[in-house]
């Protein structure tokens, strides 16, 4: 029977071993049993590992070796903007004066941190073309919730209680409808048309006085710019609704186009995509929201402001605020990184970022369009979606081709999303990849396409080079084993 590549650490070690020694109390004080009732004290110690520091280090080092990562190779995961995470950002966030500060210190002890947050708020306003920013949300979906709750508060404040619906295109990311639902709205889906863009007619047919907002990603999840955006925004606003901008795809327009100019009322940004903070294997993120005049009164508290004297303060006195969406001020460590990232580029550099991102995506698209089906012929923005249906017909679906890519040292694209393209492969190269890397990817994809024709079993049994072979995801859900037990 094959074993786990690395045992689960909880069962490892021997009683009495430890990986770190803790200072003795070294004061005169009663033991715990004397200050707490016996019933409150733990009877059975938790079954944690008992290992030396070395063995613990080895365990996690070995686990790390089992991951793909940006620093190891190409990661063209659509919608995720797997760009390079600059090392100086990591350095900055770990500075003593950044990492070891407490949110309840007096503001006088936090002027450097507050300046960073203040400037970042300003810069994000400039970048989005909007008025006011809160850095509090912890991720994209959290920003969405914040934005939609503000929209709810806006309509409520106007006494407009009928607006119970949020419109969401069928190409939208899952968090959009989920957020609207969590915020107590009914979700109404808007169809895409043959161009892959919002079907204007369908949209208009659904616009009425029950609509609180339209949530839009632009470019959308097909990587296509919603060319009718000005018309869309007029229609939604005319119907009394607001426009929510999902900033997950902001890398496409950074420094080039601004949501505020497109007529959006609120934007969330994913600092962990566009602004290069690391994904960390699933987080942390940071999802600041930036709003226009209409929503400004409803922003969560606190917000950082700058006195006339140049002193930075936390402002909480905002009567119409929706309140807090998170304890403290958001994921400050990510703010520091995004701040450093913006400093490295300036306006000119950020525009170059989006232009190179768009260039890279179009380059890949142009070079793959012979071998794979491209549902949308027009130029894409920072990513594009192609279909594996031609290959599926030959017995190798998108999932299998993705797994096969692993053997070339490349992470599979996002697959089966967006839902409106069959056998979707969503490819986002990002601007930090060189032409050489893109060319290697093109070669790999062509090789796979050829294998589908000539040696489909090679694709069907992929991946071949990983320490574990294809994982049975159905089994995991059918017989859930969700924890180690002693």
């Amino acid at each position: 029977m094959p074993e786990l590549l690395q045992p689960v650490i909880l069962g490892e070690g021997a009683p009495g071993r430890r990986g770190v020694v803790i200072p003795e109390p070294a004061v005169a004080a009663p033991e715990l049993a004397e200050v707490l009732p016996a019933s409150m004290l733990r009877r059975e110690a938790p079954a944690l590992p008992q290992q030396s520091e070395l063995e613990t280090v080895r365990h996690y080092l070995r686990l790390s070796q089992l991951n793909h990562a940006i620093d190891k190779g190409f990661y063209p995961l659509g919608s995720c903007t797997m760009k390079y995470n600059p090392k100086v950002n990591e350095w900055a966030a770990r500075l003593d004066g950044m990492a070891n500060i407490h949110p309840y210190q007096p503001e006088s002890q936090l002027q450097g941190a507050l300046e960073i947050m203040h400037d970042l708020q300003q810069w994000l306003c400039a970048i989005t073309g909007l008025e006011r920013c809160s850095l509090q949300p912890a991720a994209g979906a959290h920003g969405e919730l914040t934005g939609i709750l503000m929209i709810k508060a806006y309509h409520q404040h106007r006494g407009d209680a009928r607006r119970t619906r949020v419109l969401v295109p069928d190409s939208a990311h899952g968090t959009n409808p989920a957020t609207a639902a969590v915020a107590g709205f009914e979700v109404v889906t808007v169809a895409s048309d043959g161009r892959g863009l919002v079907d204007l007619a369908d949209l208009k047919s659904k616009l009425d006085d029950r609509v609180a907002a339209l949530m839009l990603t632009n470019p959308n999840t097909l990587g296509l710019f919603e060319e009718d955006i000005l018309e869309i925004q007029e229609a939604v606003h005319a119907a009394g609704g607001l426009l929510y901008y999902d900033g997950a795809n902001f890398n496409a327009i950074l420094g080039t186009v601004r949501p505020g100019d497109m007529g959006f009322d609120v934007v969330h940004l994913n600092l962990h995509k566009t602004f290069s903070t690391p994904h960390g294997g699933g987080g942390p993120g940071s999802g600041p929201v930036v709003v226009g005049k209409a929503l400004e009164p409803f922003l969560p508290v606190p917000i950082v402001v700058r006195d006339a004297s140049g002193t930075y303060r936390l402002e909480s006195d905002r009567p119409l605020t929706i309140g807090r969406v998170k304890a403290f001020f958001g994921n400050f460590g990510m703010h520091v990184r995004a701040y450093a990232y913006i400093l490295a580029h300036g306006a000119e550099g950020l525009a170059q970022v989006s232009r190179d991102a768009v260039l890279n995506a179009n380059y890949l698209k142009a070079n793959l369009k012979e071998a794979f089906e491209m549902p949308h012929a027009q130029p894409c923005m920072h990513e594009f979606v192609m279909s594996g249906s031609r290959q599926k017909a030959k017995g190798c679906n998108t999932l299998l081709m993705g797994k096969r890519l692993i053997d070339f040292g490349i992470h599979p694209p996002t697959i089966y999303f967006p839902l409106i393209v069959p056998e979707a492969m969503m490819i986002e190269p990002t601007e930090t990849e060189s032409k050489e890397t893109l060319d290697r990817f093109v070669t790999a994809m062509h090789t796979i396409a050829r294998e589908v024709d000539e040696t489909p079993e090679v694709v069907q049994q992929a991946p071949h080079t990983t320490p574990i072979k294809r994982v049975d995801e159905v089994l995991a859900a059918r017989k859930p084993v969700l924890r180690w037990r002693p």
Partner: protein, 462 residues
């Protein structure tokens, strides 16, 4: 201008445009309305890396860090020892530059670490199953409230006064979406008053939320609470400090249905309040209502045990508007920090952290309450490593006076409750060496006696 993160040379760009078959970048963007494309951003000029470092170092130097003063502020964020190995291992590129482990064949490292995190949380809380993390303690509480509402189908939530005010605030914000009603049990620091709970539970109440140790450091007795709550058809949600669980009985043993909390103290920097990591654990029966990612065991094509994300039909990317939550990105890396820290500590190390902190806190409380006019605000309640000192000097004044001595004495409670002007919330950890305790005692003694002197002087002159 050249940028270190952008590889393309002008020649690269030209060759690529050529390959695409367009003449310029502008041509490639021509489908965007031209008016929209004319932006000029008011941003700083591009900085060389050395300049970025110098600027950020200067900004950092304008904050006072916990290594520069003796810090006794806790209240949900604690200055604890982070073993050097935690950051050095978790900072490996393979961990922090990976995405969510949607492709298990190239993500076993992240997946197994999540599985270990879940398992450790279960061990600490005494629960059946835990998720891969929540944004933080506050949103974990809010999501627990929403989950209780889903499970019980009841629209009210009862929040005990021992819950951190910011956690309650976030829960109230989240409640605005579905329009839930949040009821408060009056702020009480002492052992949970079972009778008061019973009285406050309504047929619409989905859950009682209590916190151990409470935000004021006191430890409530959870015995019997679950029975009362369950009898009313509601769930018991316990917000617990995972380090305290190194010595306190696991909430699962007391019959909790949901245990949530903040694990920052385990391996995560304070970082001005984030990124931290919330956790959430429940009973097997409720796992399909649990928000967030869950990692489970499976097998590969050759029968080798391995890991994968599972039960994804709870999640937004599969279920969209019917998902249990909208959460997507969570705090995976912070959970990894906590996991490595717990692995290094083991059961004995964890106990030592809690014990050293608590014994020092009791020593400090004992010393402080001998000072003239100083007493515990809640002498009737047992506490662990955080306590409220009532002093004759207004707490903010006391705190500010001690800053000059390099001591951050605690959190004045009028931050949250304007009427508690003389109460200072003091947290002690293994980072507060005995000399720091001495310094705090001496500092408070000095301020208090100066004030006493001033007062008697005033009395003389009056």
């Amino acid at each position: 201008m050249t940028y270190a993160y952008l590889p393309h040379t002008p020649a690269d760009r030209a060759a690529m445009l050529d390959s695409i078959g367009v003449s310029s970048m502008d041509a490639l963007l021509s489908h965007i309305p031209k008016a929209l494309r004319e932006v000029r951003l008011d941003l700083p000029r591009p900085h060389a890396e050395a300049e970025i470092q110098q600027r950020l170092a200067r900004l950092a130097a304008r904050n006072v860090s916990a290594s520069q003063q003796a810090s006794f502020v806790g209240a949900g964020v604690t200055h604890r020892y982070r073993p050097a190995a935690v950051d050095q291992i978790a900072s490996r590129s393979e961990f922090y530059t990976a995405y969510t482990p949607y492709q298990p064949e190239v993500s076993q490292g992240t997946l197994q670490a999540i599985f270990e995190f879940q398992s450790m949380i279960c061990e600490l809380t005494g629960m059946d199953v835990a998720n891969a993390s929540m944004y933080d303690g506050s949103t974990a509480v809010a999501e627990a409230a929403l989950m209780a509402v889903r499970v019980t189908n009841r629209p009210r939530v009862l929040v005990c006064g021992s819950v951190h005010p910011e956690y309650e605030a976030v829960t109230r914000t989240y409640a605005q979406g579905p329009g839930l009603v949040i009821d408060s049990l009056p702020t009480r620091a002492d052992a949970t008053d079972v009778a008061a709970v019973k009285a406050a539970l309504t047929p619409d109440t989905s859950a009682l939320i209590v916190q151990v140790p409470g935000v004021l450091g006191t430890v409530a007795d959870l015995a019997g609470l679950a029975d009362v709550v369950h009898a009313a058809g509601a769930l018991l949600v316990v917000v617990a400090d995972p380090i305290a669980l190194g010595v306190l009985e696991a909430p699962g043993r007391w019959g909790a249905d949901l245990v949530v909390g903040e694990a920052q103290g385990l391996g995560n920097a304070m970082s001005l309040g984030g990124p931290h990591v919330g956790y959430m654990a429940c009973r097997d029966a409720h796992v399909r209502q649990l928000p967030g990612r869950i990692c489970g065991m499976s097998q590969d094509a050759e029968g080798r045990p391995c890991f994968t994300l599972t039960l994804q039909t709870r999640e937004q990317h599969i279920r969209r508007e019917k998902a249990a939550s909208n959460i997507c990105t969570n705090q995976a890396l912070n959970a990894l920090f906590s996991t490595i820290h717990l692995a290094l500590l083991g059961p004995e190390g964890l106990r030592d952290v809690a014990r050293t902190s608590a014994l020092r806190a009791h020593h400090l409380a004992d010393r402080l309450t001998r000072l003239p006019g100083c007493r515990l605000a809640h002498p009737e309640s047992p506490f662990l490593s955080e306590f409220v000192l009532t002093s004759p000097v207004p707490a903010t004044q006391l705190r500010d006076a001690l800053l000059a001595r390099g001591i951050l004495a605690g959190l004045p409670l009028d931050t949250w409750w304007p009427e508690r002007t003389h109460d200072l919330l003091i947290a002690v950890t293994e980072m507060n060496a005995p000399e720091e305790l001495e310094a705090l005692v001496a500092g408070i003694a000095a301020v208090v006696s100066a004030q006493g002197g001033q007062r008697s002087q005033e009395a003389v002159h009056a």
